[in-house]
């Protein structure tokens, strides 16, 4: 019996090893491709005999990844800050004051979560052109902000309702503090766990966003990583090695962050999905 159990355990470990290796295949292929010269026709499954590290420099310069990294960072960071600020503030009255108006507004935010953002694309695009906001960081920030506000409000409101005792606010108000002071001094610091989740969810999705970016950030100065990569792919279909180098560099920061903060990523991303 004991021997059989041991065998099953080894079998399962073998399966886990197989699963791991299988999931690593595409990354491995990307790495071998990125390290080879364009005229190196050796098997993609083998590492190159001579490493062509200049691929990375060439891809970085040609795809203008430096600019793209900065743009992506600016857009992601500003959206995240605004999201936390506007989202938590909006959630507070919706979680606390159950007036008819607030109930309706909360329902409105929740219903908007169901609308696939792309279905509003046609009129949105026209509107953005008309107000002259094409190719600006601001429009990317506003679009992403709008897309993530309903989920953010939903998560904050749920947390405030279930974990923040009302007595806390009353005490502060008795001392004569105004609503904003009560909110930012007393409530907001207690929202840290949800804030962390919201920051992780929104940063991952906004950093990776392509659907909005491709429509509104077409000029080179404002393009994000995904847009830069897509146009680089279009120009270099005959040199996949360069594309692979660019793809590898573009996924590196998020991957490193994930490997170090894995626990928080998994918890944050699944708390968003579970409730969303």
């Amino acid at each position: 019996m004991d021997g059989r159990k041991k065998m099953i355990k080894w079998l399962l470990t073998g399966i886990a090893l197989f699963v791991t290796l299988f999931h690593l295949i595409p990354f491995y292929i990307m790495i071998t491709t990125s390290l080879k010269a364009n005229n190196d026709f050796s098997s993609k499954w083998l590492m190159p005999e001579t490493y062509k590290l200049s691929n990375f420099i060439e891809a970085w310069e040609k795809a203008d990844l430096g600019t793209a990294f900065i743009n992506t960072f600016i857009i992601t960071a500003s959206t995240a800050v605004l999201l936390v600020l506007l989202g938590s503030m909006a959630a507070y009255p919706l979680a606390r004051m159950f007036t008819k108006l607030n109930k309706f507004v909360y329902f409105l935010f929740i219903s908007i979560m169901v609308i696939p953002p792309l279905t509003a694309l046609v009129p949105l695009y026209k509107m953005v052109v008309d107000i002259g906001m094409m190719n600006t960081h601001e429009i990317a920030v506003l679009n992403n902000l709008a897309a993530f506000l309903p989920l953010t409000i939903f998560l904050y409101a749920g947390f405030i309702r279930s974990t923040i005792p009302k007595e806390l606010e009353e005490a502060a108000r008795m001392d004569g503090a105004g609503t904003l002071v009560v909110f930012f001094r007393v409530i907001f610091p207690l929202l840290k766990p949800v804030t962390a989740s919201i920051l992780i969810i929104s940063c991952v999705f906004i950093w990776n966003d392509y659907q909005f970016a491709i429509f509104f950030l077409q000029s080179k100065e404002v393009q994000t990583l995904t847009v830069a990569l897509a146009s680089f792919f279009g120009q270099n279909q005959s040199n996949l090695n360069l594309v692979a180098s660019a793809a590898l560099m573009s996924m590196l920061p998020m991957t490193i962050l994930f490997l170090f903060l894995q626990k928080y990523f998994v918890a944050g991303l699944s708390s968003g999905s579970v409730k969303g």
Binding site: I15, P26, M97, E167, M174, K192, W207, T226
Partner: protein, 309 residues
């Protein structure tokens, strides 16, 4: 943190004599006005306006558009492309959901055992979740590409013919399902793993005493108690799959022809390549409708199967 909360709230609970001054503005609506404006201007207004545009022949850039009633809807239902695209979208939505849940559950069952490599496997399976779907599409492109792809390299090694996987309309929608499943199976796995770990061991011990087989235990204990996790995963995966865009752009661009187009990429194509904004808006309305119906259906269906413990 709970300690702090308790600490701070204790004295107030005792002194009920003094009451907090009542708020004048009971809705505190000014606090959600900024969020409401952003969401209204960038989602609600364009969405409602899109419904209006779907009744016009607008080309996307001219200042004039004609009201043509239900013409675009008639056109949509008679357009064979619509049905192909809806079929693909359903394949992406339902196909990915099926695979992600079955494989995700199998992975979770595997990693719920006490085996080596557990945390490594979990990390690697989950990793693609945080990578851009567009980049993930390109990464798999290096594998599937007809010229210079790793798949054909391997087939060549075994003396088999090259396959044009991404250019074959019979195969490429399935490759898109595969890549989407590969990328997001980690989410399903994690949710199932959490679900499995929350099931009390006592149920299994009791079943063991009653002589229930492993399969009976799975069917009568594990599955019913996993229903909440299944609901979440199914709804999540359906919505994600139906909205698929980036992976398709990276792998096939929707081609050949419209063969692998989803409703999202089709809309993009109609609007930007074919200057057919009115029709694109009509397709958008259909897409919103399909997503809404399917996710509501999934939610209600699986909710009814949940049991309370």
């Amino acid at each position: 943190m709970n300690e702090v909360v308790k600490e701070a709230s204790r004295p107030i609970a005792k002194s009920k004599v003094k009451r907090a001054p009542r708020l004048k503005n009971k809705s505190l609506w000014w606090m959600y006005i900024p969020a409401l404006i952003v969401v209204s201007v960038f989602i609600l207004y364009p969405f409602l306006n899109g419904i209006r545009v779907s009744f016009t022949d607008w080309n996307g850039f001219s200042q004039t558009k004609n009201w043509i009633g239900l013409e675009q809807y008639k056109r949509m239902f008679q357009d064979p492309a619509t049905w192909l695209v809806v079929k693909n979208t359903l394949l992406y939505g339902i196909g990915s959901t099926l695979f992600q849940n079955i494989i995700g559950l199998l992975y979770a069952l595997l990693l719920n055992q006490s085996i080596r490599l557990k945390s490594l496997t979990r990390t690697i399976v989950y990793l693609p979740v945080i990578i851009s779907p567009l980049v993930m599409g390109y990464i798999w492109y290096f594998f599937f590409a007809y010229n210079g792809g790793a798949l054909n390299d391997a087939l060549n090694l075994f003396g088999l013919d090259k396959v044009n996987a991404l250019g074959n309309p019979d195969i490429n929608p399935w490759i898109i399902v595969f890549v989407n499943t590969y990328q997001f199976v980690g989410i399903a796995m994690i949710i199932y793993l959490a679900g499995l770990q929350s099931i009390s061991k006592e149920y299994y011990e009791a079943a063991e005493i009653d002589g229930a087989s492993a399969f009976q235990q799975f069917k009568n204990i594990t599955m019913p108690l996993l229903m909440p996790a299944i609901t979440i995963n199914v709804v999540l995966n359906i919505i994600g799959g139906l909205k698929l865009f980036d992976v398709i752009i990276a792998l096939t661009g929707g081609g050949p022809g419209n063969a692998s187009q989803s409703m999202s990429t089709f809309m993009y194509d109609l609007y930007f390549s074919r200057q057919d904004a009115g029709y694109a808006a009509t397709q958008g309305v259909l897409m919103a409708f399909i997503i809404l119906i399917l996710s509501l259906f999934a939610l209600v269906y699986f909710k009814r199967k949940e049991i309370d413990v």
